[in-house]
C-alpha cells in the first residue's frame, strides 16, 4: 500500500495501482484516452502525461503506465506536463472534423472534454485533413472514421475483450483504419460495446441516430430484462420513447460491457402494438372501475365456487414486488397460493438455484477471476451472453473453459467442447467413477477457484442437483467449488425464492374445470411455457381471463379483462439474478405514446390534451396494491417483505445503480425430480434451444433485432442424417408431442449424435426451451 504525493496531496493506494488511478482517487482526473478501466493501459495516446519529481523514473511520464511507488512526488499541473498535454490535444485534433453540431456524440464526447482539459484551443495546423471512406457495418452501428483519434479502444474492446474477429486495425501511420476487411454487419454478439468504448463519434448507435442530444435524454440505472444474468444498463428515453440502451457498470455482474440483445433489444417498450389501454370484453370500465370489478368478481367466484375458482399466476418477468403482492392478494382473497411460473420445469430448476445452490452461488465477478470453469448443458451466447464475455476473460488470464453440451457451441474464446446428449450429460453427472468424471474431478480439485455453470433448461432441476453434488465432491477445506445456474428469465430466481416447495401444475388445475378465473401477471403461457396448445384448449373452460402485461402477447388479445402495465424501465422494482443478487431498477421514462408516434414522424403535435395519450399502463405492483386498497410506499412494502422473508435482508436499502446484494443463504429444498423417460427406439432426443435473439419475449418484440433473428432450421449430426437419407438443405418434418413442424435441415459435426436441435424464436413459438426431455422423429417432408 504505497503512499505518494500528487499535487501536494498525499494518497495511499493499493499495490500495483498506477499514478493515474492514484490521482483519480484524489479526485484529480488526468486527461486520458487509451486508458479504460476494463481495457487497461497501453500508453498509446500519451495524453495522461504528468511530471514525476521524485521517483524511480523522473521527468515527464505517462501516468497510466507507471506504478505508484512509496514516497513518489508527482505534479500534474506543472508547465512541462500541461504544455505537453496541450500538444497532444493539438495532435489528436489535427484531422478531427468540425462537425460537432451534427455529431451524435456531442455532449457525451470524451474528446470534447479531454481536449478542453488538455488546454488545446486554437488549431494551428492548416494542412490537408486526412479523410476516409466509411463502411456500412450493419443495422446497429454507424462508422464515421474521419472523427477517429486512434485511441485503439474499439479494437481492444471488440477483439481483445469481446473476442470478435471481423473487426480490427488496418493500415498504418496517420491512416490507421478501424473497421472490417469489407463492409458488412459486425458479426460479434457484443458489437454495440464499441459505441460505449469509442471516446468520440466514430462509432455511434445507428438505432439512436439523430434522435436526441445526450443532455435531453432521460436516463436512469436499470437491469437488463433479457436473460437471468441481470446486467446493469442505462436506458435513455425522450418524449416517452425509449431511444437507446447503454451499458451500466457493475463489477459484480457485467463489468463494463453488455451484449447486443440487451443493447438493441429494447424495442418492445415502444412496440406499435403494445397494448396501452385497458380493455374489458362487453363492459365499459375505466381503470378504477376495472380494478374494483376484478376484486369483486374474484371474491364472488371464490364465495360461490370455492378456493380453487380463482387462480393467480405470477411470472419470472414480473418484479419481486409484483410477485410478492400477488401472493398477498391471494391471502387477502382467500384463494390458493399463486403459481409464480407457468413453466414448471424451469421453475423447478430455479428453485434448485434459489435454495440448494444458495450457499455457493458465484457472481460473474468471481467467475471472471476463476481458473477453471466447467459448463454443463449451457449455451452462454443464447442463455446469458455476458457469461460468454466473462469466460473469455477467464481464458485471457490463463484459465481454462470446458463445456459439456450437445449443441454445436460457439464462444468468443478457446474452450474444450465435449459433445454429449442430454441423457449422457445426466449419466456423466451421476457417475461415481469413470474415465471422464475422474479426469474432470481431478482437474476441478487441482483448480484454485473452480466454477461449475449449469444450464437450467437442459439439465432441469434433477441435473442441477447432480451438479451440486459434483461441486461438493470437488470442494475442499480451503475453497468451495462455486456454482452458477443459467435460468429462464430476469427474475426466475426471485419468483422461485418466493414460491413454496410444493406447487401444482397449471395445466392440471385448469383442466379440472374448477378454475373459473385465471389472472396472469406479466406472463403468457401460450408463448412462455411448454404445451401452449394444451393451455389454449384449457382457456375455454374459464369464465374470466385477466391479463396484466406490457407486451402485445396473444394472450392479451384473448383476455376478458386486460390491464396494461408498465415495462420494467417505466417503473421501479427489484429483480433477483441467477447468482441470487437483488438489484433495483429505476424508472427511466413515463408510460405513454411516444410523441414521435402521435406526431406522425414530423413536428410534435400542436393539439393539447388534458391527459397523455396512451398513459394508462400502471406498474403491476401498483395495480395489485389498489386491489387490496393498500396505500403504502414501496419502501414500507420492502420492510414487510424482509420481515416475512429474512432472506431478502437488505432489500430496503437497495438503490438503483448500486452493485446489488446477495440474498441470504437458505436450507436445501430437495425438489422431487422425475426420472428421465425411456427413449423409444428410432427416435432422437429433442433439443429446443433458445435462439440468441428473439427467444425471450422482450427481444422477440424488438423490431431492431430483426436482422439477427435466426431462420427456421433443424440441425442433425451428419451420421443421423445419413441414417435417414437426408442431406443439408433438405426440407424436413419434425414430429414430436407438440405436433409436426417443418424446417430446413442443416448438418453439424459438433452436434451430439442422437439429437435433433431446433431454436426457439418467433418462427416457432410453440417449441419452448427448458421442457422435460422428450423425443422426436425427423423425416423428409413428403411432397404431395
Amino acid at each position: 500500500m504505497p503512499t505518494l504525493t500528487i499535487d501536494n496531496q498525499q494518497v495511499t493506494v493499493a499495490e500495483g495501482a498506477t499514478v493515474l488511478e492514484a490521482a483519480e482517487q484524489l479526485g484529480i482526473i488526468v486527461p486520458h484516452f487509451c486508458y479504460h478501466k476494463a481495457l487497461g493501459a497501453v500508453g498509446a495516446c500519451r495524453m495522461c502525461a504528468v511530471t514525476v519529481v521524485e521517483g524511480a523514473q523522473k521527468g515527464l511520464q505517462m501516468s497510466c503506465l507507471i506504478p505508484a511507488e512509496a514516497g513518489m512526488r508527482v505534479t500534474t499541473g506543472d508547465p512541462q506536463s500541461t504544455s505537453f498535454r496541450a500538444r497532444v490535444g493539438e495532435w489528436l485534433m489535427l484531422n478531427h472534423p468540425h462537425d460537432c453540431p451534427v455529431c451524435d456524440e456531442g455532449g457525451e464526447c470524451q474528446l470534447q472534454e479531454m481536449t478542453i482539459a488538455s488546454g488545446h484551443g486554437i488549431r494551428r495546423y492548416a494542412g490537408k485533413k486526412r479523410t476516409y471512406n466509411n463502411q456500412q457495418l450493419g443495422p446497429f452501428i454507424v462508422q464515421e472514421m474521419n472523427r477517429c483519434i486512434q485511441c485503439y479502444r474499439c479494437v481492444r474492446t471488440y477483439q481483445d475483450y469481446c473476442g470478435g474477429r471481423d473487426f480490427g486495425v488496418l493500415g498504418s501511420r496517420d491512416r490507421v483504419f478501424f473497421g472490417r476487411f469489407q463492409a458488412g454487419m459486425l458479426e460479434s454478439d457484443f458489437s454495440g460495446n464499441i459505441v460505449d468504448a469509442c471516446p468520440t463519434g466514430v462509432f455511434t448507435d445507428k438505432t439512436y441516430r439523430f434522435k436526441s442530444r445526450y443532455w435531453d435524454l432521460q436516463e436512469a440505472p436499470s437491469i437488463c430484462p433479457h436473460c437471468s444474468l441481470g446486467c446493469a444498463t442505462i436506458p435513455g428515453g425522450r418524449f416517452r420513447e425509449l431511444q437507446r440502451v447503454r451499458s451500466g457498470i457493475n463489477q459484480k455482474t457485467n463489468g463494463y460491457f453488455i451484449c447486443d440483445r440487451g443493447r438493441f433489444g429494447s424495442g418492445y417498450v415502444n412496440h406499435p402494438e403494445r397494448p396501452r389501454q385497458l380493455h374489458s370484453r362487453g363492459r365499459e370500465l375505466n381503470l378504477a372501475e376495472a380494478v374494483r370489478w376484478l376484486d369483486v368478481q374474484a371474491r364472488e367466484l371464490l364465495e360461490q365456487q370455492g378456493p380453487e375458482a380463482v387462480l393467480l399466476l405470477g411470472s419470472n418477468r414480473a418484479s419481486l414486488e409484483s410477485n410478492w403482492l400477488l401472493q398477498q392478494w391471494a391471502i387477502d382473497l382467500g384463494c390458493k397460493v399463486p403459481l409464480l411460473s407457468a413453466h414448471i420445469p424451469r421453475h423447478q430448476a430455479a428453485q434448485v438455484a434459489a435454495f440448494d445452490f444458495s450457499d455457493r452461488l458465484a457472481s460473474l465477478e468471481q467467475l471472471r477471476s476463476s481458473d477453471l470453469v466447467v459448463l454443463f448443458g449451457a449455451d452462454p451466447l443464447a442463455e446469458g451472453p455476458t457469461l460468454a464475455l466473462a469466460l473469455r476473460q477467464v481464458v485471457r488470464a490463463g484459465g481454462a473453459v470446458i463445456v459439456y453440451d450437445p449443441r454445436p457451441l460457439e464462444l468468443p474464446c478457446e474452450f474444450d467442447h465435449q459433445s454429449l446428449t442430454p441423457v449422457q450429460l445426466h449419466e456423466l453427472l451421476s457417475a461415481e467413477k469413470g474415465p471422464e468424471i475422474d479426469r474432470l474431478c481431478e482437474l476441478l480439485q487441482r483448480a484454485a477457484q473452480p466454477v461449475l455453470v449449469g444450464g437450467g433448461d437442459l439439465l432441469g432441476a434433477g441435473g442441477l442437483l447432480k451438479l451440486k453434488k459434483l461441486a461438493k465432491r470437488v470442494s475442499n477445506a480451503e475453497r468451495a467449488c462455486l456454482l452458477l445456474p443459467l435460468l429462464g428469465a430476469a427474475n426466475s430466481f426471485g419468483a422461485a425464492l418466493l414460491s413454496p416447495a410444493e406447487q401444482d401444475d397449471l395445466l392440471t388445475r385448469l383442466e379440472t374445470g374448477r378454475v373459473k378465473m385465471l389472472v396472469c401477471l406479466e406472463t403468457d403461457p401460450l408463448l412462455e411455457a411448454p404445451q401452449g396448445e394444451r393451455f389454449a384448449d384449457a382457456l375455454a373452460k374459464l369464465d374470466e381471463l385477466v391479463v396484466f402485461d406490457y407486451l402485445p402477447t396473444p394472450l392479451s388479445v384473448h383476455a376478458s379483462l386486460f390491464l396494461p402495465t408498465c415495462a420494467p424501465l417505466e417503473t421501479v422494482g427489484t429483480f433477483v439474478n441467477n447468482g441470487g443478487r437483488m438489484q433495483r431498477f429505476a424508472p427511466v421514462i413515463e408510460p405513454g405514446l411516444p410523441i414521435a408516434v402521435t406526431g406522425d414522424g414530423d413536428h410534435p403535435p400542436r393539439e393539447f390534451l388534458s391527459a397523455t395519450p396512451g398513459d394508462e399502463p400502471r406498474p403491476a405492483w401498483q395495480l395489485l396494491q389498489w386491489l387490496m386498497d393498500d396505500r403504502r410506499e414501496l419502501s414500507q412494502l420492502h420492510g414487510q417483505m424482509v420481515a416475512q422473508l429474512p432472506r431478502l435482508d437488505g432489500l430496503t436499502e437497495l438503490r438503483p445503480g448500486d452493485s446489488g446484494l446477495r440474498v441470504r443463504n437458505a436450507d436445501e429444498r430437495s425438489v422431487i425430480v422425475e426420472d428421465l423417460p425411456e427413449q423409444p427406439a428410432g427416435t432422437l432426443q429433442l433439443l429446443v434451444s433458445p435462439a440468441r435473439y428473439g427467444s425471450d419475449l422482450c427481444s422477440r418484440f424488438s423490431a431492431k433485432l430483426t436482422p439477427r433473428f435466426s431462420p427456421a432450421i433443424l440441425r442433425l449430426n451428419p451420421q443421423d442424417a445419413a441414417e435417414r437419407e437426408l442431406s443439408a438443405g433438405d426440407p424436413v418434418v419434425l414430429d414430436c408431442d407438440l405436433g409436426s413442424f417443418k424446417f430446413c435441415l442443416q448438418l453439424s459435426e459438433q452436434l451430439a449424435a442422437g439429437c435433433a436441435l431446433v431454436e426457439n424464436s418467433g418462427a416457432f413459438p410453440h417449441l419452448v426451451p427448458g421442457d422435460r426431455l422428450s423425443f422426436c422423429a425427423v423425416g423428409a417432408e413428403v411432397q404431395l
Binding site: 495516446c45 495524453m47 504544455s83 495532435w91 485503439y152 493500415g171 498504418s172 496517420d174 490507421v176
Partner: protein, 423 residues
C-alpha cells in the same frame, strides 16, 4: 591504418561465397573451437570483454544485453536476428549477406550457444530477396555439414535456424514490433517492461541482435577480446564497422573500416571526395535518424561516444553526404516524409506529431512560412523527443534537431525570402 577485413574478407564484386569458400578462409573454425573449448559463460564473457556494441543503430553493448538473458532458464528461448534494414542511407547488412551469408549463420550458432537457445529466427525484409535466397542456401549447407540441427559437432548442443521473410516496414526494426510481426501480429511496438529478455517471442526469453553484430561473434571467438578491441582507432571503441557511403560523393560504396575513422578521411579517401568538385555541407553520420554533422565536425572520430559528444549518433554508420548546394530544409523534409509514412500509427506524437512537423517543413520550404512556424517547429522538437512510445519518433526528430542546431539561419532565409533560396 590497419585495414583488417573480418566481415568482408570474402567479398568479391558480383560474387557470393557459400560454404566451400567460407570454410577456405577459416569459416566455422570458431564454432568448432568454441564448442570444444568454451563454456557458454566463457563465450558471453569474451563478448562482454570485447566491448562489442550493437551495430543496428542503438549501440547497446552486446555483452551487457546478453547478461540480461536468462540463459540457464529451462524451456524454449529464442535468438532473433534483426535484418529489417530499411532506414534511408543504411544498406550494410544487405551488402554483407550478398557477399558472405555464412558469416551470419556461424555468428548466430555461436550466439545461440552462448545464450543456450535452441531456436533462432532471421527476420528479413521482403526487399532483400537475393539475400534471403543466399541465407536459405547457407542454412541448408550448414545443416548438411552438421553445423545446425541436433547435437552440433558432437557437443550435445542443438540449434535450428529459420528464415522469416516479412512484408516488412521500417517499424519492424524496433525489436518488440519485430517480435509481434514474427508472431503474425500487427507490428506495433510492445510495452516495456517486460523486456524481450524476460518475455519476448511467444512470451519466452528472447534476444534480438542485428546482422552485423552477430556476424562479429566468430571473429571475437577466434581473435580474442583484446585483439578485437585493438582493431578500433579510438581508445573506447572496438572492432571494425561496415560504413555505407551514400549521397553526394564520388564513390558511394560500403567499406569495412575500423571503428573510429575520422570523418574527413572517410569522405576524402574512401568516398573519393564530394562529387562535382563541390564542397561538403553536412552529413548524416549513421543513417537517417542521426542529427547532421557539418564541416566543423570533419575531424571527429566516427565512434559511439565521440559522436554523442558532438550531439549526433554513430547509428548504423550509414554516412549520407550533402553538398553545398543542398537545401537542408528540403533534405530534412524528405527524411521526415519517410518517417511520417513509416510510423506504425500507435502513439500520438509519432502518428500525428510527425504529420505536423512534415506540414511545418512543407510550409517553410514552399516559402509560406512565418517566424511563428519556426517557433512551432522548435516546440514540436522539444515535445516529441523523448515522449513517444518507441524510438521511431525520437529518431525521426534527429535530422530536425540537427537542422535547428546547425542550419537555423537557412530556415530564416526561407522565411525572409518567401521561397527556397536554393531554387
Amino acid at each position: 591504418m590497419n585495414r583488417e577485413q573480418l566481415l568482408f574478407k570474402n567479398r568479391r564484386p558480383g560474387e557470393t561465397v557459400f560454404l566451400a569458400g567460407y570454410r577456405a578462409t577459416g569459416g566455422y573454425q570458431s564454432l568448432q573451437q568454441a564448442l570444444r573449448d568454451l563454456t557458454p559463460e566463457a563465450l558471453r564473457q569474451r563478448v562482454k570483454d570485447s566491448n562489442l556494441r550493437g551495430r543496428g543503430g542503438a549501440g547497446f553493448p552486446t555483452g551487457v544485453k546478453w547478461n540480461f538473458f536468462p540463459a540457464d532458464q529451462p524451456g524454449p528461448k529464442y535468438l532473433v536476428c534483426n535484418c529489417d534494414e530499411m532506414e534511408p542511407g543504411t544498406y550494410k547488412d544487405g551488402e554483407l549477406l550478398l557477399a558472405d551469408p555464412h558469416q551470419l549463420v556461424e555468428g548466430m550458432i555461436l550466439s545461440a550457444f552462448a545464450l543456450q537457445t535452441d531456436i533462432g529466427y532471421i527476420f528479413i525484409r521482403y526487399a532483400y530477396a537475393q539475400q534471403a535466397e543466399n541465407l536459405r542456401r547457407a542454412i541448408v549447407e550448414a545443416t548438411e555439414a552438421g553445423f545446425l540441427g541436433q547435437n552440433i559437432l558432437g557437443s550435445g548442443f542443438n540449434f535450428e535456424l529459420h528464415l522469416h521473410s516479412s512484408a516488412g516496414r521500417y517499424i519492424l526494426g524496433e525489436e518488440t514490433a519485430l517480435l509481434n510481426g514474427l508472431e503474425g501480429k500487427r507490428p506495433n511496438p510492445r510495452l516495456k517492461p517486460p523486456f524481450p529478455a524476460v518475455k519476448g517471442l511467444f512470451g519466452r526469453p528472447t534476444t534480438v541482435n542485428n546482422v552485423e553484430t552477430l556476424a562479429n561473434i566468430q571473429h571475437i571467438v577466434s581473435g580474442g577480446a583484446e585483439w578485437f578491441r585493438a582493431l578500433a582507432l579510438t581508445e573506447e571503441g572496438s572492432g571494425t564497422k561496415l560504413y555505407g557511403l551514400s549521397g553526394h560523393l564520388n564513390r558511394t560504396e560500403c567499406f569495412e573500416l575500423p571503428v573510429g575513422m575520422p570523418l574527413r578521411q572517410l569522405i576524402e579517401e574512401f568516398g573519393a571526395g564530394v562529387w562535382r568538385g563541390r564542397k561538403f555541407k553536412a552529413c548524416l553520420p549513421g543513417g537517417a535518424s542521426t542529427p547532421y554533422l557539418t564541416a566543423e565536425h570533419l575531424d571527429v572520430a566516427l565512434d559511439f561516444d565521440s559522436l554523442e559528444a558532438v550531439g549526433s549518433r554513430f547509428g548504423t554508420a550509414g554516412v549520407t553526404v550533402f553538398d553545398d548546394r543542398t537545401c537542408m530544409v528540403a533534405a530534412t523534409l524528405n527524411l521526415i516524409r519517410f518517417f511520417a509514412r513509416e510510423s506504425c500509427g500507435w502513439c500520438t506524437p509519432c502518428r500525428d506529431g510527425l504529420t505536423m512537423v512534415r506540414w511545418l517543413l512543407e510550409t517553410i520550404e514552399t516559402g509560406q512560412g512565418t517566424p511563428e512556424h519556426l517557433e512551432m517547429l522548435k516546440d514540436q522538437l522539444q515535445q516529441i523527443s523523448g515522449n513517444s512510445f518507441c524510438a521511431l519518433a525520437e529518431g525521426a526528430m534527429g535530422p530536425v534537431a540537427g537542422l535547428l542546431t546547425h542550419f537555423e539561419q537557412e530556415i530564416i532565409d526561407h522565411l525572409e525570402k518567401g521561397r527556397c533560396p536554393f531554387q
